[in-house]
Amino acid sequence: MMGDVATRAAAPRAMGVPGERGRFGDHGGRYVPESLVEACREVEEAFREAWADPGFRGELATLLAVHAGRPTPLTPAWRLSAELGVTLLLKREDLAHTGSHKINNVLGQALLAARMGRTRLIAETGAGQHGVATATAAALLGLEATVFMGERDVERQALNVFRMRMLGAEVVPVRAGTRTLKDATSEAMRHWVGVAGSAHYCVGSVIGPSPYPYMVREFQRVIGDEARRQCAAALPSAVPDHVVACVGGGSNAAGTFAGFADTPARLWGVEAEGGAGAALGRPGVLHGFRSLFLQDDDGQIREAHSIAAGLDYPGVGPEHAHLRDLGRARYVTVDDGEVTAAAVRLARAEGIVPALESAHAVAWVIRAAGSGELPAGSTVLLTLSGRGDKDVATLMEVL
């Protein structure tokens, strides 16, 4: 009995404030060029001060409500639940303004940037969702926006490129390396070095140097906090048995998990088979943080592959690496074929066309339902992080 108490007291508290220098266990930190250390420190100081200020929180809550349409609903997936033999509840981030959860983080960072006196936002984007959200927040708050996007993604996501430009943002195609999210992130960091005094780097996921992984998780925890209350009203057990979200860098998952880290719910992160930093990566340092990355024996970063541009990232946020180390969350993978099948199945069973990123989470639930991992009769909360409009061209090619 006493041993039990001691063990519990000694266990690290999952998803609290990170340790010194932004550490989540062995992961995180601030591995940036000296030229960016001061800029990161300023963001950290400004965020800690703003996050403790009820005025800032109130302003953000208002924007999330009147501009982004929060709270997003919790939708029971009636027919799919019946087919799978589990109770599946969907947290509808696809219904948030701009079509995904990305707006939650961006409104927070844009308000922070304005508070810091910055006049421009810099962002990287893969699928274009974070770029569109950044362009939107910039327009809303009267800031300029420059979005870096891999040339290959510019081709794959022409619709979002147009939306960003219509919102007044400058979209810069990145021709370096693999011409995807990884290279867009590198280019955004290079650009930031030169303009850190006037521009804020609005990182789109729970990645990057400290304080970004912590800050972005805090801005995204609105997903988990809302879902926790909605589950309490919707489920006799109040807390679902399982909480599932897709993971690229891992921001919608981190925000969702944050609402349930202190419950008995089992947490599942679903990665793309070809971009599974948490499931298949090895320890390393990239883009300012220590975490798990796909890499070869020499330490060269490997190219990620996914049908979902937003999951085409070779690493995972440092807190996910830590949750994996702790055993608090588990990370699993699905392949492109399962993902497109899941997108179609959700569309036909529930009338919801999910983003291909979000369809990863759906695909895993479909596969695991009834197995030992997700036994029949389980209650499952799944964060549907975005809507599938942007993926129609991709789906037309493969279906």
């Binding site: 030229s35 800029a39 390396g177 960091m189 030169g194 024996d297």
Partner: protein
């Protein structure tokens, strides 16, 4: 004091301005010939880049050079093997690369491999002083000097810490930007060199954007010497042979030795 810093101090104290040219390891099959040309042109140290897939502090030229070297099949092991063949040069060899390659097998193994290959210095641009403890211990254990970078944005107390903990020299980054040639040297460059020399007597090398003999002379007014990277690699990528790079550096050497000429 290790070999690199001893050598640089001695030359600096003798009134010589220091010149450290850079080459991306593995950029051509005979890339070590560039290092030999550097030595013949009067280099005081030679920086050898071990190419990394995602060089986040490098501008287009070094990115392109890194990509080309990796495409040719360059590996850290291969570059270090090439370095070992330069032992006869009697010029200190300084390896530069990113954290992920240093940490892959751990900084102790990496620094031991550096020593084995005959390198006496290490530069890791994405390793700021706050994160450098383990690598600094590993480097010291292998007798390798871990040179830290300082930037124009570095505040005073932090600059003092960097100057104190850096080994070999302090790498002063001339501007708020990535590597690459620039048409002119900004005022922040010489100001930073002056701030560091006021804090420490460790040699200060100014780098980023130095591409002409005139810029080198201007930089060396306040700094103890210069690093020249992208200006060399731009020529190498355009097909310049080692003797042509040697001629370019000889002009820079002569300007540094006789700035009035």
């Amino acid at each position: 004091m290790n070999a690199l810093e001893t050598r640089l101090r001695a030359r600096r104290d003798a009134g010589r301005k220091l010149l450290m040219p850079y080459v991306t390891g593995g950029i051509t099959p005979d890339w070590t010939e560039y290092a030999r040309a550097f030595a013949a042109a009067g280099a005081d140290a030679i920086e050898i880049g071990v190419p990394f897939s995602d060089p986040t502090l490098d501008g287009v030229t070094i990115q392109e050079a890194s990509h080309a070297a990796l495409t040719r099949g360059a590996t850290p092991r291969g570059v270090l093997a090439g370095l070992a063949g330069l032992a006869d040069l009697d010029v200190p060899l300084v390896v530069s690369t990113y954290c992920n390659l240093v940490f892959r097998d751990g900084p102790w193994a990496f620094c031991a491999a550096l020593r084995e290959a005959g390198a006496s210095g290490l530069i890791v641009p994405d390793l700021p002083v706050d994160e450098a403890d383990e690598a600094a211990d590993a480097a010291a254990g292998a007798g390798v000097d871990l040179a830290l970078l300082a930037s124009p944005a570095t505040p005073a107390p932090r600059l003092a810490e960097i100057s104190r903990r850096s080994r070999g020299f302090v790498y002063a980054v001339s501007l708020m930007g990535t590597t690459g040639t620039r048409s002119a040297l900004g005022p922040a460059a010489t100001a930073l060199a002056g701030r560091i020399t006021g804090l420490s007597d460790r040699p200060v090398l100014l780098g980023f954007g130095i591409s002409t003999p005139g810029q080198a002379v201007e930089a060396a007014r306040r700094a103890d010497g210069v690093v020249v990277g992208a200006a060399i690699m731009r020529r190498v990528l355009a097909g310049a042979r080692p003797d042509e790079i040697g001629a370019f550096l000889t002009a820079m050497r002569e300007a540094l030795d006789d700035p009035g000429a």
